[in-house]
Amino acid sequence: SEEYYLENEFLKLRSDDTGVTHMILPDRTTNLRIQFHYWTGCSGDNTNTTTRSSGAYIFRPETDKPYPLEYNSNRIVKGEVVQEIRAESDTASSTFRVYGGLPFIEHDFVVGPIPVDDKVGKEYVIRYDTNVGNDGVFFTDSNGRQVLKRKLNERPQWNLTLAEPIAGNYYPVTSKVFLEDGHTRITVLVDRSEGGTSLVQGGIELMVHRRLLHDDAFGVGEALNEVAQGEGLVVRGRHRLLNLNPNDEQETLSEKKYALQTHYEPIVFVSKAEHISYESW
């Protein structure tokens, strides 16, 4: 019932009790929903392709739709430098930031420990759902080389019938993934290599954390079940979301620059300065 805005000179991020809803630019508005989901991992005896477990090598979800994670609380913080929406659920939390002078939305997320009390391995993804009509086409960079066009359930060289329609549409994302229609390009910049796809119209999905309880029999010989101090691992990462005009050369160039800026972030050193006065410094 209430709506909240984060804004700077480039964009506005609208949010209400259901979470983030719109990204508003001076010349266009894009519907936006950002939500965690998780896929549950298959469990099998690995004797043939239909009874294979999801493991370190193989992403093999047991359902064709992921389970959504609802945020329990929202909080807004506003200041001169940055404005934030903080959303939390039981096993993941998100901070959406809009900085003054910067044309992107930053998503700082913390995921984990992934609960496995129900004896089911889980693979957590973040979905950015928009109203961009991409018709199954999306683009990923290929291990830092050229950007490649991907199309849902298709390969450019041969006729494809996917036995595993979810995992078969996942591609490596090294620095960016984007989708577009004639007016809007939505780009997600990642701070590390992640698996990514676009399974639904206008949606970008990126896998950010995995905890699995079975070996997939491809050689590692153990489950991907990393534990520290008796708990599963906690992951912190960052995505930057850009909304660009694909017909504007300046904007698409800035996308390349921000991708590099996210990957080659500044190196920060902190030094004590008790022995020096401000004037001397």
Partner: protein, 243 residues
């Protein structure tokens, strides 16, 4: 050269397909962490020497520490009343980059190399909802500012913690004070604004009672039921009158 070679060697090992994709056994993953961490730490020696040389400060020696984990924790900034943040921009063009430094609660001023005060903001670090093993750090806040960086440049910022924020008043004492006067309210986001015992603060009108020398933001049970986002919004509307 030998420490750079050590890092080159570790990076060579990390080209193995198991290291890239995470399909190594767990004890191998730990060994990779050990190899890489040792090599990066040693190679930082060269970076530190390089920055010291470039800063051309023979009189004052700085010990450049780098926090490599992406968690809100930094022993140097948490323990210091004043410190220098040195930022290296590895890109070949001008950038604006948000810098977030973990600190204790207080009031800070950030200065750019030309002596100008940089706009900064102190943000509290959210506590995890679940009781999980978390970062080992005393930092409760992050000091945030935007650094304007030149291509392939190094820039230093001087950060001072303002003394008036640490005069023996802390969250616990405010909370005790508030409970002593029988208030059912929860006190959050306390800003100390003056000399103890001499300044008066008017608290928001929907709260009965006044504080003697502290600026209160008070959340009622009703506020909490409505939701945190709502009361954060309301908080911005509340005028902060100081006598």
């Amino acid at each position: 050269k030998f420490v750079i070679d050590e890092l080159k060697s570790a990076m060579g090992v990390m080209q193995h397909h198991d290291a890239i994709t995470g399909t190594e056994k767990q004890h191998v993953a730990h060994d990779y962490e050990r190899l890489l961490d040792n090599a990066v730490e040693d190679a930082l020696l060269v970076a530190r020497q390089g920055i010291s040389k470039l800063s051309k400060s023979e009189k004052y020696q700085f010990n450049y520490e780098r926090c490599r984990l992406n968690e809100s924790s930094c022993a140097t900034s948490e323990d210091s009343q004043q410190f220098v943040v040195t930022v290296y921009n590895p890109l070949g063009w001008n950038t604006l980059e948000p810098i977030r430094i973990p600190v204790l609660d207080g009031e800070y001023e950030v200065y750019a190399p030309n002596g100008e005060k940089v706009t900064s903001q102190l943000l509290d670090i959210p506590n995890p909802v679940r009781k999980i093993p978390t970062r080992k750090s005393g930092a409760t806040h992050e000091l945030t500012f935007i650094a304007k960086l030149h291509p392939l440049s190094i820039k230093s910022f001087f950060i001072k913690k303002m003394q008036r924020t640490r005069r023996g008043i802390d969250y616990r004492s405010i909370k005790n004070y508030w409970s002593n006067i029988g208030s059912p309210y929860i006190v959050e986001n306390i800003d100390y604004v003056g000399n103890i015992g001499t300044d008066k603060i008017v608290v928001p009108s929907h709260v009965s009672g006044t504080g003697s020398n502290i600026n209160f933001d008070v959340l009622t049970d009703e506020d909490l039921n409505v939701g945190r986002a709502e009361n954060m919004r309301n908080r911005d509307k509340v005028p902060r009158n100081m006598e």
